[in-house]
């Protein structure tokens, strides 16, 4: 287990370093000058001198590598710099918005888990029954809608026609429901399919046959053997999905006008606000890697084969 941990942490650090490279250099190869962009969004006709002055001040005329080193040095001190446009501390700005997006994403995750585990397990156990067909068809139909489309429909029906929940915006827990439901409905089918297929695959395993041979009750077999085997792939892809949820939140935040990180990033992208984009990539990268790490550890706790892999083959 220790060895497993050490290996995972090392590869995590390596990935993070890679992410920092991506964050810095990918953003820098884009064909738009941030200084020009800055003047453009303010609709200010800029002169060459004033642009050069800003370049000088921001250090954009130094070699890229030393800019990178400088940036990394500050990042190590948890200083992500100040936004080029708003002049605010990027770290603080990102974090405060991140929690909003995280709130949506984690609620969505909760919905996903509840939806997919119940439907997935039931439809695997009652394979090819009416329930199986009906729920799967309807949920797959919903998932084939573009998320903004689904969001419009939900807003129109639930919020506007029925008046059950707030239309949009951010504030109470009611504001959380529609956006996260939109997100969850979009990805649940993937999990329903995953759980269902995995459970059905497990049913083919000899150890399930052996469990029957020992006279175990069906619900014990489902709980102990079928569902447990589904957990590692489920956890791994749930961790992957956390990223997908954050990504999907961008659209949901737009439609529901939630001041989350996705909207911020879209605006910063328009403004070519390097500092924000770099910080964002690093933050998301870190979050994503951390979540995957936690998921791996959890998988290792559930599945002893993974845990012991590091110790002899």
């Amino acid at each position: 287990m220790q060895r497993f941990l050490v290996r995972r942490i090392l590869s995590m650090i390596l990935a993070l370093w890679g992410v920092s490279l991506v964050a810095f250099f990918l953003i820098r190869v884009i064909p738009v000058d941030p200084v020009e962009a800055y003047f453009a969004i303010n609709q200010i006709p800029a002169s060459k001198e004033s642009m050069d002055a800003i370049r000088e001040k921001q250090g954009f005329n130094q070699p890229l590598l030393s800019q990178y080193a400088n940036w990394m040095w500050h990042v190590f001190q948890l200083d992500f710099g100040k936004s080029f446009v708003s002049k605010l501390d990027v770290g603080k700005e990102l974090i405060s918005r991140f929690w909003i997006t995280f709130g949506i994403a984690s609620t969505a995750l909760l919905f996903v888990v509840i939806l997919s585990v119940t439907i997935g397990v039931l439809s695997a156990v009652k394979q090819n029954s009416l329930f199986d067909r009906l729920t799967r068809t309807s949920i797959f139909t919903i998932a084939s809608m573009p998320s903004f489309w689904l969001a419009f429909i939900l807003i129109y029906i639930v919020a506007l026609k029925w008046g059950l929940l707030p239309l949009m915006g951010w504030g109470t827990w009611q504001h959380l429901i529609l956006p996260s439901l939109t997100l969850a409905l979009g990805i649940s089918p993937y999990y329903i399919r995953l759980i269902r297929t995995s459970m059905i695959e497990q049913m083919q395993q000899p150890y399930v046959l052996y469990a029957r041979a020992r006279g175990l009750k069906e619900n014990v077999i489902v709980r102990h053997h079928l569902f447990r085997g589904t957990l590692p792939p489920l956890l791994t892809s749930l961790a992957m999905t956390c990223g997908g949820l954050l990504g999907g939140a961008v659209i949901v935040e737009i439609v529901f006008t939630i001041p989350g990180i996705g909207r911020y990033i879209l605006d910063s992208m328009g403004a070519r606000d390097y500092v924000v984009l770099q910080g964002f990539i690093l933050l998301i990268g870190f979050f994503y890697i951390a979540i995957n790490f936690v998921a791996d550890i959890m998988c290792a706790m559930i599945d002893p084969r993974i845990r012991l892999k590091g110790e002899g083959k």
Binding site: S144, W149, F152, G244, L246, G247, I289
Partner: protein, 271 residues
């Protein structure tokens, strides 16, 4: 009896996919009106014999634009499919089979790329490069080959241990031939199937980027763009937005169904 049941979804879905593809290919002969010609006098018409699905805010035939849009959407989706398939196959097989430094380097690159959520990564790339069909294509390809390459590599690693590959090695078959004859035929169908099932999500991704204003831009007609163009007509002419949205859902559903049907036909175990 049982066998026919299994084939039926495949037959229906594949003929629907073929039909859609045909529509996309023969678009110039199928459209009732030039999808780009504007006729202000005929704007926002309802359903009629001349305009089966009505006209949009600039008096263009919605049905014709839908058909033209099928061409753009499908062409983009298929080219993304093919390019990512090629990249991931090459990277995955080479990394897995050749191993060593090449493997280490490629897989570390994959690790790093995988450390970013797909949609966000695509968004950042497209957003910073600027919108448009080509940039969107680049963005989506850039993020979607990685996962498959990883997957292929793992498949290749276990294939590499198979006795028939070992035999080919000790008999002196060239590396290239081993990859071509003994590895590719096993990897390709599985990956192709996975990609086929993933087609629907690619279509959704395209439409979502278009919705954010980062995808396809005028003068091309594309479903996602048709939706974002008619956003402002949501209250007055909801059909303008509904029809392309419905078309996207239908296509995604169709591809998902098709992918499932192909898989079930190949592998009876999982159903």
């Amino acid at each position: 009896m049982k066998k026919r049941n299994k084939r039926l979804p495949l037959i229906i879905s594949s003929s629907l996919v073929a039909l859609l593809t045909m529509v996309a290919i023969f678009e110039p002969w199928l459209v009732l009106h030039d999808p780009h010609v504007i006729n202000m006098a005929m704007k926002l018409q309802g359903f009629s014999a001349t305009y089966p699905l009505g006209t949009d805010h600039l008096g263009r035939c919605v049905l014709s634009r839908l058909i033209a849009g099928a061409r753009v959407s499908l062409f983009t989706t298929f080219s993304i499919l093919i390019v990512t398939l090629i990249i991931s196959l090459v990277v995955g097989i080479v990394a897995g089979y050749v191993g060593g430094m090449i493997d280490t380097v490629l897989m570390r690159v994959c690790d790093i790329l995988l450390a970013m959520p797909n949609f966000i990564f695509a968004l950042v790339i497209v957003g910073t490069l600027g919108g448009g069909l080509f940039n969107m294509f680049i963005g989506i390809v850039f993020v979607s080959w990685v996962w498959y390459a990883r997957m292929i590599r793992n498949m290749v690693l276990s294939l590499k241990e198979a006795p028939f590959v070992k035999y080919a090695q000790v008999t002196g078959v060239s590396r290239f031939n081993i990859m071509r004859v003994h590895i590719l035929p096993f990897v390709f169908p599985q990956i192709f199937l996975l990609k086929l099932i993933g087609l629907g999500s690619t279509i959704l991704l395209i439409s979502e980027l278009s919705f954010l204003g980062l995808g396809v831009t005028a003068p091309l007609a594309e479903w996602g763009m048709m939706i974002s163009d008619s956003k402002t007509y949501l209250l007055s002419n909801p059909m303008l937005m509904f029809i392309p949205g419905f078309m996207i859902s239908l296509t995604v559903l169709l591809f998902n169904w098709f992918g499932d049907a192909v898989r079930d036909a190949l592998d009876p175990k999982t159903l």
